[in-house]
Point group: C2
Chain length 406, copies 2
């Protein structure tokens, strides 16, 4: 069985994802689609709209055969570490290829850009350093330094997050000496950052979330942009837990934790660096909402994403030493769900998996997986009060979701 | 000017307190009444019904002339440390006497009991140790051991919290070689622990709080038991902050903090000892309310009060080393409020005070006072959301309350 791997967040699964899924399957000539998906907290440093279990269902009902969780230690991270974790999981699960979406859809331009970045590394680092000294954020400095060096249009635009991720996937494959084939398919007209609907059927997850939050629970406003199962699962989730998760649901907890913390404790938190702890504390005392807090701590030096991720780590109390493991490889395959086809694949192939297959948390103890467990427990504080306990304890005993033949 | 010192919590100030205040003033032949009052968290391990500022107003409008705050490091503590802190403040503020309420109203029985406890100390400790080994709590073991030894009725009943406090006040005076005169006046018929109203005008603070919480904001049910200013200030507080504080208002924060903590972090918290950290964590995962949580962690070994205090320390993130200062003396006099008479007293006497007089937090940095500040900030998370920020920042700038001539 030929397996293609996808690296996803599905927040929520929309028509653009369906397009990417089918195009990937075709491009890789695959029988099985394996997704590695961020858990309850995402790379952008946000809680997912709905829990990883509901997002797993969305994936399975829309054509994915197996969903593995990208551990918290890789999911709430900058592109390089995120990519390393994801690639290591798809590789360990026996995928033949990984297929990512990109603006260009042209693998050659990725390879060319990577070669260029490697050749010019020294000069590039010098330029990045110079830009950082002017006070801009690291990603911005990279982009500026790169544009200063690359005069040709055949190189990728590094200001686009999907290009950065694509580059990191390919670099991870190289560094890990993985036999995964990198593939890319062109994305349908929706920019990652788009906040407005720009087509009849394809919209960015950002614009879809925005529509959802502007009307809560009125999923009709998004129904042309998402497949039926997504709409149904969003409705079900809202009916069950009375919330679509967003940062403001966790603000009171973040606020409280900041107020009760010492600067010494804050300095132990992953990504809290260079005196940020004082800035965080001062802002906490005078902010009424997460939005207000973020505006107070923002400087040119740090991106919004970096600061939101840091807030996630404060919320989950994740310390530097807990994130300090080997940066490039996951140590387990946490199975969130499968279809019949997925099950068949697992039965045939799991004995060859390079990492232990974990179906239930209660049967596996490992440093990284305890972070996933804690993240799930903290996430459950965001749902309607009377459902918290149930959700908090479910995580420990939950069996992988199994979707039988459709 | 002759000053009598009172050690109080006024949660809230009721007719029994008014009686005690007047009787104390008379017994000491005093011109000035100085109260040292617990701040926002109390010796029983609970948030105060209303903030220390409103309770200061109650005190001043009902006959107290000066209110000092008993620092958190002494207030949320067992009787011995509580008494040491309180006595050291009244002593430093130049009081001639301290007058406490007791069931007997007879100082001789206190002195006799203390002598007995001193003489029999060795035997008593042996007996206490033996009772503790049967699994009972420390206070219970003390009471049992003591009753086993004391056959005479002229000794005090150590099962009564007011008697224990009284004994500790006198011991503190002795140990600190203070020149304070201990005095006691008989309490009017209301047991500390009474939950029901037992007289026409005097009721315990416990029964008054119970009545308040059973009807929120309907202060008419308690008006025969509290002076007019108390009733008015309770109404004002509720109108302004939309809450009377109780543990359940802080449960979500305690819950969150337990869930995000490691057992190692919990072990650093003051009073978390002997494997309690695991018990706390396990109970947190399966509790929906503070009440439920407390019932799950309770054992014969620990009193409710001890466990509630421990929860306050988790809430305020107060660590063992932060409470580790010299146990017997406060290091500042934090002025919460004064009347004209109080002001006159301060002007005449403050140059002789044995401790620095602190009128504003922003003008004084000291280890203990930062605990008071943090406790006030955490307390402010319990009020209506839109008032939190204001209350949180008020603490730092607040001037002492000054009640002009009535």
């Amino acid at each position: 069985m030929n397996a293609v791997g996808l690296i996803v967040e599905y927040n929520p699964f929309h028509n653009g994802h369906a397009f990417h899924l089918n195009a990937s399957k075709e491009a890789a000539n695959a029988d099985v689609v394996i997704a590695v998906m961020s858990g309850n907290f995402l790379q952008r440093g946000e809680p997912a709209l709905v829990s990883k279990w509901y997002r797993t269902r969305m994936a399975l009902l829309n054509g994915v055969d197996i969903v593995f969780e990208l551990p918290y230690r890789f999911a709430v991270q900058k592109a390089e570490i995120f990519a390393n974790g994801a690639v290591s999981i798809l590789d360990a699960a026996g995928c033949n290829a990984v297929c990512f979406g990109s603006e260009s859809g042209d693998l050659a331009s990725f390879l060319k850009t990577i070669d260029f970045l490697t050749e010019q590394q020294e000069q590039l680092e010098e330029n990045i350093h110079r830009f950082i000294e002017t006070g801009v954020s690291y990603p911005k400095a990279v982009s500026l330094a790169y544009h200063q060096l690359s005069d040709s249009n055949s190189y990728l635009d590094l200001a686009k997050p999907n290009n950065i991720l694509g580059i990191e996937y390919i670099k991870a494959i190289k560094n890990q000496r993985s036999s995964l084939h990198p593939l890319t398919v062109a994305r349908k007209n929706a920019d990652y950052h788009d906040e407005h609907f720009a087509s009849e059927t394809i919209a960015s997850a950002t614009s879809i979330r925005k529509a959802i939050f502007s009307k809560e629970c009125d999923t009709f406003s998004i129904e042309q942009y998402v497949p039926g199962p997504t709409k149904q699962l969003l409705l079900d989730y809202y009916n069950e837990y009375q919330v679509f998760h967003q940062w403001e649901n966790y603000w009171n907890y973040l606020h409280f934790r900041l107020i009760q913390s010492s600067t010494e404790e804050l300095k132990e938190i992953y990504e809290v660096e260079e005196g940020l702890e004082n800035r965080l504390l001062q802002a906490a005392f005078i902010s009424d909402s997460f939005q207000e807090f973020m505006e107070k701590i923002k400087t040119k030096r740090y991106t919004w994403t970096r600061l939101r991720r840091l807030c996630v780590h404060i919320l989950t109390n994740t310390k530097k030493e807990q994130m300090a493991g080997p940066e490039d490889k996951a140590s387990y395959l946490r199975l969130l769900g499968m279809t019949d086809t997925g099950k068949e694949y697992l039965n045939k192939r799991k004995k060859d998996f390079a990492l232990p297959l974990v179906s239930k948390l209660s049967s596996y103890k490992e440093k990284d997986i305890l972070l996933d467990l804690k993240a799930a427990r903290i996430y459950s504080l965001g749902v309607a009060h009377h459902k918290t306990k149930e959700l908090m304890n479910q995580e420990f005993k939950q069996q992988p979701i199994w979707i039988e033949k459709r």
